[in-house]
């Protein structure tokens, strides 16, 4: 792997890390497997791209993206809590609907941001070269989001979210409306995923309706890698681990794409397959370990 490829992987790891934090929130904290993210990532990208091409400040466009993602997540959670649709199915429904919605927002399957203002302009204007500008901006956003989530989960409301994932009967008996908590939590998660999508679009110079495919799998892989390598014995550590897991995941992918076996090498389109295999191994590894130890 070249230094250039490694830097690229770190940059991707940071920006997708914001998505991974969102996935951690639903998957691990709320115990709510949420596939909405495959739709809310491109949703964020579309909203931001369309906003920017309409002359809206790129920073403000991030807020719209976040809000859009929040609403998408809320819809999934409402389908699940109020209408009793299984969480996986509810999230698939929202995800599929978002595919059409994203094309509506962009007026087509993709939209280019060539020559438009982005959040990177200011940093590049300071004289920082393009490939570092991405890392810098993404690092700032990723750390800010991590800090915010860790702070938030230590507030009264945040603790109610943790408790809802941990023991819903108990927190209900303490007067918390778990439906509202789940709606809020899944909304927040998808808000972050959309923010991640918006930043990716601004970095790539385009939003594309297909850019979200495999988001949940990449998110899960990163979460699991993070937990395994960096541990999760408290909230701050768990979220930092998720972020780092995202970086390790992107580095591993970059490494895999660089491999050659005789005439064979992986192409970027093999990414989802590699990741799916990775997640399967990670998911069954603990069981295998348990069985071996039990004997």
């Amino acid at each position: 792997m070249t230094v250039y490829a490694a830097l690229g992987a770190v940059e991707q790891g940071l920006v997708y890390g914001i998505m991974v934090i969102g996935v951690y929130l639903t998957f691990r904290i709320l115990d709510f497997p949420d596939l909405t993210v495959d739709g809310s990532l491109p949703l964020g990208a579309s909203i931001s791209a369309v906003a920017i091409t309409n002359g809206i400040n790129p920073y403000y466009s991030l807020m719209f993206a976040l809000l859009g993602g929040f609403v998408a997540g809320m819809i999934t959670a409402i389908l699940n809590t109020k209408f009793k649709i299984l969480h996986l199915l509810a999230s698939i429904l929202t995800m599929i609907a978002l595919y059409s919605i994203n094309i509506r927002i962009m007026g087509g399957p993709n939209i280019a941001l060539l020559g438009s203002a982005t959040v990177f302009d200011a940093v590049i204007a300071w004289g920082i070269p393009g490939q570092y500008a991405g890392i810098l901006i993404f690092a700032v956003f990723a750390l800010a989001v991590t800090g915010f989530i860790v702070w938030f989960l230590k507030t009264e409301l945040g603790m109610a979210i943790l408790a809802t994932g941990d023991n819903p009967r108990m927190i209900t008996s303490l007067g918390v409306n778990t439906h509202m908590v789940i709606i809020l939590g899944v909304g927040l998660s998808n808000g972050l995923v959309a923010l991640s999508g918006a930043l990716i679009a601004q970095n790539q110079g385009a939003a594309d309706v297909g850019m979200g495919i495999g988001t949940i799998i990449a998110g899960l892989a990163s979460v699991i890698i993070g937990e395994t390598i960096f541990g999760d014995n408290n909230i701050a550590r768990a979220f930092v681990a998720a972020l780092l897991g995202s970086i390790v995941y992107r580095l591993a992918i970059a490494l895999a794409l660089g491999l050659e076996f005789g005439g064979f090498s992986f192409s970027p389109s093999d990414l989802n397959l590699i990741t799916a295999v990775l997640v399967v191994i990670a998911l069954i590894a603990p069981n295998i370990k348990k069985k071996v130890v039990a004997r």
Binding site: T155, R169, M170, S173
Partner: protein, 264 residues
Amino acid sequence: MISLDNCSKYFHKGSVNEVFALNSISIDIDEGDFISIIGSNGAGKSTLLNSIAGVFMLDSGTINVGNRDVTTWPEYKRAKFISRVFQDPLLGTCPSATIEQNMALAKKRGQWRGFSRGVKAKDRPMFQEKLKMLGLGLENRLQDRVGLLSGGQRQALTMLMATMVRPEVLLLDEHIAALDPKTANQILRLTEEIVGEQELTTLMITHNMKHAIEFGNRLIMLHQGRIISDVAGEEKKSLTVNDLLQKFYDSSEEELVTDAMLLA
């Protein structure tokens, strides 16, 4: 304080598995009553408490608690003034949260939860003082995860949490049944102490007839979703286990008294 009027509850209504769990139950409970509830397995004891707590809605009838008609209120809304302790010690606390986090959650029961710090430094002395009361040494383990505690310790903590903010009604569903006898006794003493001190209106399900006789000022016996006996005052004080068994025979057509009833 609490009044149930003609409360009925079916499960799986209309299917072959239909269960008539509560059969037109009416009862008035006074402020400060401590009622022990007995009855064979499946008599509807838990269903009665769950109906009061709002775990599910009744099929018919009304429930008033403290002059509010709560019949259609969801559980979380009733939790503002109704506290519960479950049989399973795992249900009353959050295992991955620390002792102080659990207590902080309980301290906000029924109140708005906002953006101020979940665990406040100024509450710690109060937490420690309450934990000291248990005599389990938990006051020095505020930052330990509750998942590390034994069932008895967790149940003791749950009792504290359920009464941290004084509830109008305390519901105990066989809350000592899953514990070893010694621990069960400790939790029972703790219950007595807290209920006495806060003068709580309490409903306690037990499968132990001696406990049912010893604790509380009133005893009700359920059978097949009905109240088949309701004793209070002097009459309750003079009850014996044999009296209870007799009552059970008299009121139920069934000849069979389950092992659970006899062994208790």
